[in-house]
Every structure is written in structure tokens, then in C-alpha cells.
Symmetry: C2
Subunit: 389 residues, 2 copies
DNA sequence: CTGTTAGCGCATTCAC
DNA sequence: GTGAATGCGCTAACAG
């Protein structure tokens, strides 16, 4: 009964499964021992060279026409709901198409129409956490409108990006969204492309392009204004790498917010990496040098998590003694901390959706304008700035 | 000089930027006040209806031929490096193509060739953390081989999935990878598709399909065997939702590992949600009821983070008094904890790459087999199980 | 109402 | 060597 005796094999293995009841009435599968069927040495594929065309070749319109006993043109009209076709005929055609599970060839259509109904999503770093919501928003917006998305990850490599761009153009995408991994300006793809381009998150360095990027300046301001509204006056700032525009813009916003209240930051802004570790270390330094700090604006949620850790270690009660606000509203971090973390949300999914909308518009011939547009951010209040009651 | 006076506008705004020096010699852009140029009411696009076809229509082969003063056929041969063309002619054609920045129309090619050089990536939930590495791996593998990827996110909705599937088929993708959000079996797309399908992460419920899924069983076993190797004998298990196959499989593996050493779990496995909160609460209960526990195997890194928190609160030293091991090797969590978290890594990027490879093979006519294949996992040792020295 | 024709952009015969 | 002709699957004009 002991499954898979011996150490776990370091190769892929095939198992049969057994359905069995588990708690809560759900059903699951676990491997059974002794049934390692066809071990496959790991990185190498199987090897048997046999044809694997599961179903047969996809049916074409001419197949349908033949089966329905009509001409290709008539079949086309019938399936496209053109009104100059007899009801009975249409029915025959539709049925034939159904029986053959006919799917019109989008390529052939595109060849005629001159547009493909596809767009390219050129990201510079899929790994990046900011990429995903933008991607989701875009995919969502397009998906709803029958447009399909080519995903291209350039891995932050300009060569690869150029390569992907070429591929996208050769596929005749109707538009391109370029998603960067930071809010720092990135090189433009140029003005001579035959399709509209929208830059999301990372703006293009060419103002003739249209760029949508989060409003970090307002985000910093919003954060500080919230802290001020909570009655805090001795506010410090711990943030990440100063070479990031995000760090600078948020700081500038924060300073503006403070100035508006006739205040300024406690101490100098503390820059280093965007990590929890840095948050912990920086908070320890800060609270040592400026024990009277009553609020910390953190440049990221990760940093804020570190700050919360140190506050707890030093016996500072959050939010009573010390208010902490993060940035990015990374839910898994923000909602699992003690207390839960107030943060600034950049609405990235909406940003992606909007970028898609802009590409849509451009495809439809609408002038989408140019320049760097800053998308609004929002404050998400949780327990680290206002005590729960 | 104060940028953007007044509260942050709740609409998009266009700014001019000013280049200025920031610390560390880098350059950044910040918005300047008073230059809000063309405010765009937020969710609505611009509206001016003018043509925006940036460059002109993409050049065709016939354009190139005309410019080079040859026939279309010759131009084609020249550009495709066929050898029956004069050197001088080829040169003229290539130059003409270059001047027109000619890009062959992949659709037209595909129409001829009967294959498109595209594959569909059908995910059920882009948001999911496990999706991304798989996606990256697949995109990577394909990208290298000149194949482009259609990304489709079904948002966990069967209807939407069917919709996307149809779209993919109509685009005549050469293959499809289906990525699920959990390791529980999911409904098969069926056997009658005209293209090969590979299931990644979530296996298909039909054994005739090929599925690649992480070996959670071995992962659980590996985790426990590591704890045993560290000299721990009183091992408890805190994990997530028991309705997940992942929870059950890892548990089964852990039990097998313990049995191999003539041991068993301390207490019952503790199930609830896959959250840091639960990790904290569960650890508190566990350490209250079984103070002699010397190691905890956690079903996820999030849970492990919670466990570490509680251990610290209760004054348990990790790893000396208590070893903690997580699951998933979510770097941002694992490397930022105190101490850093030992964890099991499912090699998801490799899984994605392999799935892509299998689709490749199938396209090439290689038999890729069927059934549920379990991909090897690996142990990543950090400070939460072995003290750093 | 239905079928014939033309052509989207390209690669591939096959004549010249 | 080169170019005219054919067809991939489909839709949009027409002609019947």
C-alpha cells in the first residue's frame, strides 16, 4: 500500500491513478506504488516517430459546400448569415458545417480583410509582478472583442525584443502593446511601424508615442496626505533603489504633500533595494536615530512588511505608536501582515485594459494622441494606519 | 515650483517632463506643475476620429518585385535563398526589400504551408502564481523556435474557455497547451481536436491525454526526508485546503517518508486555507498542544511564513529548536524571511518548457504518448532547517 | 436565390 | 536564370 517505495525517482514517470474519497467529500488522485509504467529519462522526449495527427485535417469551406451540395460561395453566405440565401439551403449548410465541426480559417479571412484580429503584447520581463495585472487587463479587454493576443517576452533583452517585433509584424498584428518592467522611460520602437503602438507601465522615451504609466507622483502625495489626515506629523520615508523613477516620483509626491501642510520629511529619504530585508534594517536605523517618528511611508509593500517586523521587534505598536503605509497593494503581502497593510494601488489591471482600448481605437482609425499619460492610483486603507474597531 | 498643486486629479493627465539629475547619476522624469495639458476624463477614450495609420500599409512581395524590376516568383526565390537566381538579381531584390522594410506575410505563408507556426496557451487563471513560470517556460521554448504564442485566459470559466478554444482553432494554431491553476484533474478538451494538446500543471481527467504535473507526492516525501536527515523526529504538518489534490498528495508523500523511518506525524495534519494567517494560527495551536514538536512541514511558503512568525513570537529558535520547511519556493517569500526558508521547488518553468517541447514533437509528428507524467521537484535548503555558519 | 469569377500574399511547379 | 501560372481558404463582386 505504500506508494512509490524507495527514493523519489529523478526522472519523469507515468502513473495510474486511483480515485478515492478524501475529507470534505472531494475526490483526488494519488500515485500508486509499483506502477511506474514508462519512465522517460528526463530532459529527452519520448522518441517514437509516429504520426500523431489526432483528429484529421480541419474541414474547409469547400468540404462543407460539397457535403451540403452547394457552391462554396453559397456555403459562405449561409454561414455568415447573409440574407440572400434560402432558408432550407442555409439549414443544410449549417448542418453540414456542424457535422464536420467546421471552423473558418481566420488566416484566409485575414488575408482578404487586410487585418488579422490579433495584437502583440511585447513584455520585457514576464517575471515582473507588475506585468501580470497589466497583461490580464489587456487580455481581458481584447478577449471580449474577439481579438487574440500574441504574447512575447523579451526577457529584458533588446535583441530579443527586436526579434519578437519582427515576428509580430510578419504576423500582421493589428496593433502592439509594449509593457515595461519599471516606470522609467524605455527606448521607443520608432515611428515608422505600420501598426499603432501603445506603451504601458514603462513610457516610451519619445513623446510622439502614446504611453500610459501609473501616477507615482500622485501616489506618493496620496500616501502622505493619508498619513497627515490620520494626524501624523513626523513622517519618514523608506524606499527602494534611487535609480528607479518610481522611487524618485513617489518621493517627490510625498514631499509635495508634506509641503502643503508646512512640514517636511523626518530625516533623509532612505534608499536601497526593494526588499523586506531592507525594510527591516532601515526601520531599525530610523527608529534608533529618530525615535519620535510617528509614521513611515514605504516605497513598496515588501519594504513595509520589513518595517512592520522591526516595529514589532522594538515594541512599537502599529498603528497606535507608528503608522505604516506601503505601495503597490500586493494583496498577498498586504492582507497577511499584522496588522494588515494600508497601501497605494496603481490599478494596473485597469491600465492594461485601457491600453488595449487605445489600441482598439487606433485600429478603428481613432486618433489616440501621444505623450505620457499618468493613470490615477488609489488608496487602500487597512489596519496599519487606522486601528480596526 | 511645487508640482501639480492641489489634490491629485482623478482623471488622466498629460505632462511635460523635465530631465534632471538625481542621486547616483541616473536620470529621471517628474511631472511639473501647471502643465496639465489635455486632461482626459478617465474611462473614456479621447474621441477625435482621425486616421492614425502611422506608417503606410506594409509592403508586399509584389511591391518588392516591382521595385527590383523582377517578377514576383524571382523575388520570392531571391529572398528565400533558393539557389536558382543570379547573384546580381538577388542583390537587387534584397536591397529593394530592405528599402521597403519588407516583412513576409506569415498568414499568406501559413495558408500555403498548412501550418501557422503558432500555438495556443490556454490558461484558466492568469492571476495564479503557478501560471507565470509555466507560461515563461513555454514562451521561452517556443520563442527560440520561431513559434509564436497566443495567450488565452479563461478566467476559470468553462464557457470562456470554450470560446477561446474555438478562436484558437479558427486561427489554426499548430498545438495547444492547457495550463490549469491547481494540480487537481480538469476536464479534457476532448480527443477530436485537429491539433495536439498538452496539459500542464492541472492534468486532464482523460488518461488518453498527455498531462505534465508536478510530483507533489515526491515533494512531500522529499521535505520529510530532509527533516529526518536533519535529525528531526517529531514532525508535524500544517497545510492548506484539504480539497486540493496538492494538499493530499504532499501529505501522502510526507507520511510515506515518515513510515520509511518507522515514524508518524505528530498530531493530525492541520488543514485550512493556504495563507500566512492560517500558518500563524495553526502554529500557535500546534505548539500549544504538542510543545515537543521539533519540525514543521508546511504545505506552502505562505503558511511557513506564518509559522515562522509564531515561532518567533513564542520564543522558539528556528532552526535550532524548530525546523520549518515550506513548499513552492516562492523566492520573494522564502528569501526574505527570518531565517530564510527551506522549501520545495516544483521547477515550473522547466515544466512549461517541457510542455512546449512536447507540443513541438507532436507537431513534428512524434508520438508524445499519453497519461499523467509527474515532473521531479527539488529541495532548496536555506536557513530554516539548517543553521547558517 | 445560386454559382462563377477574381483576388488577398505568397511559394511552387513548369515552361521559356 | 527568369517569369507566367496555379492554388492555399475564403469573401465580395458580379452574372445567371
Amino acid at each position: 500500500m505504500t506508494p512509490a517505495p524507495g527514493p523519489a525517482p529523478l526522472s519523469w514517470w507515468v502513473v495510474r491513478f486511483e480515485i478515492y474519497e478524501i475529507p470534505f467529500g472531494k475526490v483526488s488522485c494519488v500515485p500508486l506504488g509499483g506502477q511506474v509504467a514508462s519512465p522517460i529519462t528526463f530532459p529527452q522526449p519520448g522518441g517514437d516517430v509516429t504520426s500523431n495527427e489526432s483528429g484529421s485535417r480541419a474541414a474547409t469551406l469547400s468540404d462543407v459546400a460539397k457535403r451540403a451540395g452547394v457552391s462554396i460561395a453559397t456555403a459562405s453566405k449561409a454561414l455568415n448569415n447573409r440574407d440572400d440565401v434560402a432558408v432550407a439551403t442555409r439549414q443544410r449548410v449549417v448542418q453540414a458545417a456542424d457535422e464536420l465541426s467546421f471552423t473558418p480559417n481566420a488566416m484566409a479571412k485575414g488575408l482578404l480583410a487586410g487585418r488579422t484580429g490579433t495584437v502583440g503584447l511585447l513584455t520585457s520581463d514576464l517575471e515582473g509582478r507588475f506585468m501580470i495585472p497589466i497583461l490580464m487587463g489587456a487580455e481581458d479587454a481584447f478577449g471580449a472583442g474577439q481579438i487574440n493576443v500574441f504574447l512575447c517576452d523579451a526577457r529584458g533583452d533588446a535583441i530579443r525584443e527586436q526579434h519578437h517585433l519582427k515576428a509580430l509584424l510578419s504576423r500582421r498584428v493589428d496593433g502592439i502593446i509594449v509593457v515595461g518592467r519599471a516606470t522609467d522611460p524605455r527606448p521607443s520602437l520608432g515611428q515608422s511601424l505600420p501598426v499603432p503602438v501603445v506603451y504601458a507601465y514603462a513610457p516610451s522615451d519619445d513623446p510622439r508615442d502614446l504611453s500610459l504609466t501609473p501616477d507615482n507622483y500622485s501616489g506618493g502625495r496620496l500616501a502622505v496626505e493619508h498619513l497627515l489626515a490620520c494626524g501624523r506629523t513626523r513622517i519618514a520615508h523608506i524606499t527602494g533603489d534611487p535609480s528607479y523613477a518610481a522611487a524618485q516620483d513617489r518621493l517627490a509626491g510625498a514631499r509635495a504633500g508634506l509641503e502643503g501642510a508646512g512640514l517636511s520629511l523626518v530625516g533623509e529619504p532612505m534608499f536601497s533595494e526593494w526588499s523586506e530585508h531592507w525594510g527591516r534594517d532601515a526601520a531599525a536605523m530610523l527608529l534608533g536615530q529618530h525615535p519620535d517618528v510617528d509614521a513611515i511611508f514605504c516605497g513598496s509593500d515588501q519594504i513595509a512588511r520589513g518595517v512592520l517586523d522591526t516595529a514589532r521587534d522594538l515594541g512599537r505598536r502599529v498603528p497606535d505608536d507608528l503608522a505604516v503605509i506601503g505601495y503597490d497593494n500586493w494583496e498577498v503581502l498586504a492582507t497577511n501582515s499584522r496588522p494588515e497593510l494600508t497601501s497605494i494601488d496603481a490599478n494596473l489591471q485597469m491600465l492594461g485594459r485601457l491600453a488595449a482600448q487605445r489600441v482598439f481605437d487606433a485600429i478603428d482609425g481613432v486618433d489616440i494622441g501621444s505623450g505620457e499619460h499618468h493613470s490615477p492610483v488609489r488608496l487602500v486603507i487597512r489596519g496599519s494606519t487606522i486601528p480596526r474597531r
